[in-house]
Point group: C2
Chain length 419, copies 2
């Protein structure tokens, strides 16, 4: 069979499955997730055999040690995947929730009921644990899922898919609800992105290059975030101790993540004192600082920043620093160079805090907290399928609710329309 035809069949099968899946009860879905969690642990050997094949190929192909590490499924990592599924079981089922209901003058009762989006395509890079996480979230929210992982993890992903499909089907989940694209042929992604009649949304997970490629080629809507250029703005009325702790945490608690601070903005009124404290502290932790001229006037050991630094997502121990004249200049900087991910202010000034919250329209806006909290689990959403920095449908961390939409339900008693 031709590859395009094969992909069309996978997509059509998912669409068909999504219809029955959408009204499958919570207990059936949770039962399937528990059964899969058990099987992942029980079938550790089968998973290891497949994963070893991927690891061998990776070494033969000269992948970096870091990439090989991400690819490796240790027993601990398999256990963590299984535990992740059990956490999803514990979350409330969003499907069927009536979020609002109101009565019209003619007696009609109108409500909005949550329903699944339908069919979700996930396109991701090397970590095979995404296969299980994403399938778990889609299944719980009543969506059929088509998974396409990186070619270097194809054997691992296939066996994880097989285990999930076996157990899900045995638990009463419709066939086709979970599918893994079984080939590493790159054309499969292009064909997948053409199936707008069957697939409702694409969620790419990986680096900026992957996401740009998906967006360019997709005829299906894409929920995405390109990068996180997160700011902390230390206001003139900041509590210096809070500011220091938040900045150190936002930059250093983990550097290679999208919600780490990449640029620190400092109000000129507090700059001399605050920079005298934070610059040595950052340098001591091995952070390379790149600052504007005023920053360097106060702290000459800071390297000069160039224009590109203001929009850089370093994902590393590097920090851009700029002194600003006031809140307006800080907000202008964030709007111009930011990525709509997460931006924070440190201030004790009520009015300034309110203005920052209102006027910065990034997907997460914070007062007196570390940008590192921008995360579905930290927000209490219970899970995260990804982060969106575009405004349509979802903006910010996406949990189970963001995998649903609402339909209108109307309860009448024979009402007809007069005009």
């Amino acid at each position: 069979m031709e590859l395009r035809e094969e992909i069309v069949q996978i997509a059509a099968k998912a669409k068909k499955a999504s219809r029955d899946l959408s009204s499958l009860g919570s207990s059936a879905k949770d039962g399937a997730l528990e059964s899969i969690a058990g099987a992942l642990v029980d079938e550790a050997d089968r998973i290891k055999t497949a994963n070893d094949k991927d690891l061998e190929a990776a070494e033969k192909n000269g992948l970096s040690a870091a990439m090989i590490d991400r690819l490796r499924l240790t027993p601990e990592r398999v256990k963590a995947m299984a535990d992740g599924l059990l956490e999803i079981v514990a979350l409330p089922d969003p499907v069927g929730e009536v979020t609002r209901m109101w009565t019209r003058p003619n007696g009609l009762r109108i409500g909005r009921m949550r329903i699944p989006l339908g069919v979700i395509g996930i396109i991701f890079e090397s970590r095979p644990n995404v296969t299980v996480d994403a399938a778990g979230l889609c299944l719980k929210s009543g969506n059929a899922v088509i998974l396409r992982g990186g070619s270097e993890a194809i054997n691992s992903n296939k066996v994880l898919g097989d285990i999930m499909i076996e157990k899900a089907t045995a638990a009463g989940v419709p066939e086709g609800a979970v599918q893994v694209i079984p080939t590493t042929d790159r054309a499969a992604v292009d064909f997948l992105l053409e199936q707008e009649d069957y697939i409702d949304v694409i969620i790419p997970r990986g680096g900026e290059a992957l996401i740009r490629k998906v967006v360019e080629r997709s005829r299906i809507p894409v929920l995405k975030h390109y990068k996180g250029v997160c700011h902390v703005y230390v206001d003139a009325d900041a509590n210096p101790k809070k500011a220091r702790e938040i900045c150190m945490n936002a930059k250093l608690q983990r550097t290679g993540v999208c919600n780490a601070m990449e640029t620190m903005l400092v109000h000129v009124g507090i700059a001399e004192d605050f920079l005298a404290m934070i610059v040595p502290a950052m340098l001591e932790q091995g952070v390379e600082l790149r600052g504007c001229e005023i920053t360097r006037d106060f702290q000459p050991q800071v390297k000069p920043a160039v224009e590109d630094d203001w929009s850089a997502e370093y994902l590393d121990k590097i920090l851009a620093v700029r002194v600003v004249e006031d809140l307006d200049m800080a907000i202008d900087h964030i709007r111009r160079y930011g990525s709509d991910h997460t931006d924070a202010i440190v201030t004790e000034n009520y009015t300034i805090a309110q203005r920052f919250i209102r006027e910065v329209d990034s997907s997460s806006v914070m007062v007196n907290a570390s940008t590192r909290f921008s995360d579905g689990f930290q927000y209490g959403l219970g899970a995260e399928i990804g982060i969106s920095t575009t405004r349509l449908h979802a903006y910010g961390p996406m949990g189970l609710e963001e995998l649903t939409t609402t339909k209108f339900i109307v309860h009448g008693d024979g009402q007809i329309r007069e005009s």
Copy 2:
């Protein structure tokens, strides 16, 4: 200036305006809308002169009488546009609403705040009143708008745009918040649909051909509905009087609209009696009936339906009729041939009603009510910018809220992340 460059500048200007517009207060926005409403009435002559040019051209180009009528701006229609704006003034401003707020164990307070989508592109056909309606809804919800109407209404649209822009700017709305594409060149639409860096969403309003063209070419997400193939399913346990009234209303109260019934499904257990009542009543009203074989066994004067009838959006006094064996067959029919617009059941049976509500995932699902109620005004949303039959972002009638998204807001007291 080249056309492409001109469109890029319009889009960039809209983006810039959207930033200030997003935090503009309700009183400024409402003041602008009131001022525009007043000016529309005051400048009736200026509008008439422009509209006459369009009408002359339309006659010269041999447009149909119906199209010319839709194009005509009578004093009553101008007054209706102005009144429409005043109704938008009376609606609550969705921007800034905190829809939920909760506290995390570490004391962080997390909330979701409504913000505008940003820049909205509206592409529509002949009726020039859409220019004012759509601009009013976008302005109220804090979105910049770019309007592109049909070429036959270019003079009317331009003068309506000029009046709105003059009054809005005078009332403090940022320049660029409302713009009308000033050319009838078809390439302008193509260029507009490329501006994904500046435009957040496209809403096409018009026939299926227009919408398909927009979807095919757009790199920007499109909120759309293709057509309304709406069903009423008369269950075995229907109250015959309610069923008759609902079916007559859904088919006949207005026929050329997307929420009119196009196919009637009748349970076999009630078919003989119900068809004996409804068929003569429909025929008497001049409705052409096209039925399945069983329908024709009961009522031989019904014409035979062919396969295409089940998916037809007649927008006319024509009705497809099918007898089904049970609820499952009715739901299967709706899933297969429906358009995810609006589907209703008539029944007194509680369990059947609940199943229909739960298992039919059209954007509006009704029990014992006419499909004609599927409308933003009828639902009490206060306004309607259109209807979406795709599930991402909005599903069903779209009001002001659907022109917004939510950002996460986080109030802290110096919290940092430990792990």
